[in-house]
């Protein structure tokens, strides 16, 4: 990380339409942060702090819910059970069926971690989705990738798994031209799209929020530009509501596709 990074602390770095320094358009710099502290060459930044806090939030929530479970759930346990049942019935069972119930803890942890990480973009003081830094997405993608490869090799055997990947139902001459596509799709494009989809959605959402928030501040004067500032503020509200939905949706899509990939590893695709 370079030393000349911009920290989006004050709105627009203090730039205002009256000050004449121009609209401080947000860009890649808005996603770089000065390190909070440094240990040797290791720099601990705000996104890392957010990631650690999210882990603690998820662990604390499920600890509070299930450390001392009651037969008749109340309070936090009730919420925890609703969350787990939602993941089981909406994500796990439709793809894996009852045989996939052993993957429920993994999928629940994955779903809630991604969701809380995404929601951080809307929570005051944090106001940054750590998933918009792609470095936070790849470890999850690799985790999922190696899990479904492992499950596939374990259940179908290495030759069987590779063999089942190839669509044998097509004519032989078509098969030859399909093999490079099929292998590339499975080993490269599938994990790549899984990661980039989450990253790009969070990146774009945060950028949109920044653009309209900065514009609201930048245009707020006692003149006709106040109308534009008001319009921009309405967009801030709209994008915030949209992001609430996107945060949940991206966590849902990532976890659902993980379940689908594990299901395809458990048995050969037809």
């Amino acid at each position: 990380m370079t030393g000349d990074v911009q920290v989006v602390a004050a709105p627009g770095g203090g730039c205002h339409i009256r000050s004449g320094c121009g609209y401080p358009s947000p860009g890649l710099d808005s996603f770089n942060f000065r390190p909070l502290f440094t240990i040797g060459s290791f720099q601990f930044t705000k996104p890392m702090l957010i990631a650690v806090i999210c882990v603690i939030i998820v662990i604390a929530f499920f600890w509070a819910a299930f450390a001392k479970p009651k037969l008749v759930p109340r309070g936090v346990q009730n919420l925890g059970e609703i969350g787990i049942l939602a993941v089981r019935d909406q994500i796990l069972r439709p793809s894996l069926g009852k045989r996939g119930d052993s993957y429920l803890p993994f999928l629940v942890a994955l779903f809630f971690y991604i969701w809380v990480m995404n929601l951080m973009e809307l929570i005051p003081l944090f106001q940054f989705p750590a998933m918009s830094r792609i470095g936070f997405v790849w470890p999850l993608v690799f985790l999922v990738y190696f899990l479904y490869l492992y499950v596939g090799f374990k259940n179908q055997g290495f030759p069987g798994y590779i063999k089942n990947m190839i669509p044998w139902d097509v004519p032989k001459f078509v098969l030859i031209i399909l093999i490079p596509i099929e292998l590339l799709r499975f080993f490269v494009v599938q994990p790549f799209t899984l990661g980039v989809r989450l990253f790009a959605n969070m990146f774009a959402g945060h950028l949109l929020l920044l653009i309209f928030t900065l514009a609201t501040w930048y245009l707020a004067t006692v003149s006709v530009s106040l109308l534009f500032a008001a319009g921009s503020f309405v967009m801030v509200i709209f994008v915030t509501l949209l992001e609430l939905l996107i945060d949940l949706l991206q966590a849902f899509i990532f976890t659902t596709l993980t379940a689908v990939y594990i299901a395809s590893s458990l048995e050969a695709a037809h």
């Binding site: 019935d89 439709p94 793809s95 669509p167 490079p180 596509i181 799709r185 494009v189 596709l257």
Partner: protein, 95 residues
């Protein structure tokens, strides 16, 4: 079973079917997208390599187009056929 009980069961079944449809839709949607990208990448790379060897830069975009065409053809072959099978299968078929 009482009519209220039957209704509740039907509602649960309907929700399960909707969830299954969503998962299947996501799977097919992203698989199709992956095929399109993989087709362009695979044959774009082959075209680029051959083009580099024979000094014809045009082989790179041609390769990508060929890859895209192969992908589209295969998507139609696989999912067009599956749609036809699903439409033809009687209700309650648990294949």
């Amino acid at each position: 079973m009482s009519s209220t009980g039957k209704e509740a069961v039907t509602r649960v079944d309907r929700r399960a079917a909707a969830a299954q449809g969503r998962a299947q839709g996501l799977d097919i949607g992203w698989t199709v997208f992956s095929y399109l990208i993989a087709g362009m990448l695979a044959y774009g790379a082959i075209g680029w390599l051959i083009g580099r060897a024979v000094q014809v830069a045009l082989l790179f975009p041609i390769g990508m187009l060929i890859g895209l065409a192969i992908s589209i053809g295969f998507i139609i072959y696989r999912y067009g056929k599956q749609g036809a099978v699903d439409a033809a299968s009687p209700e309650g078929d648990d294949r």
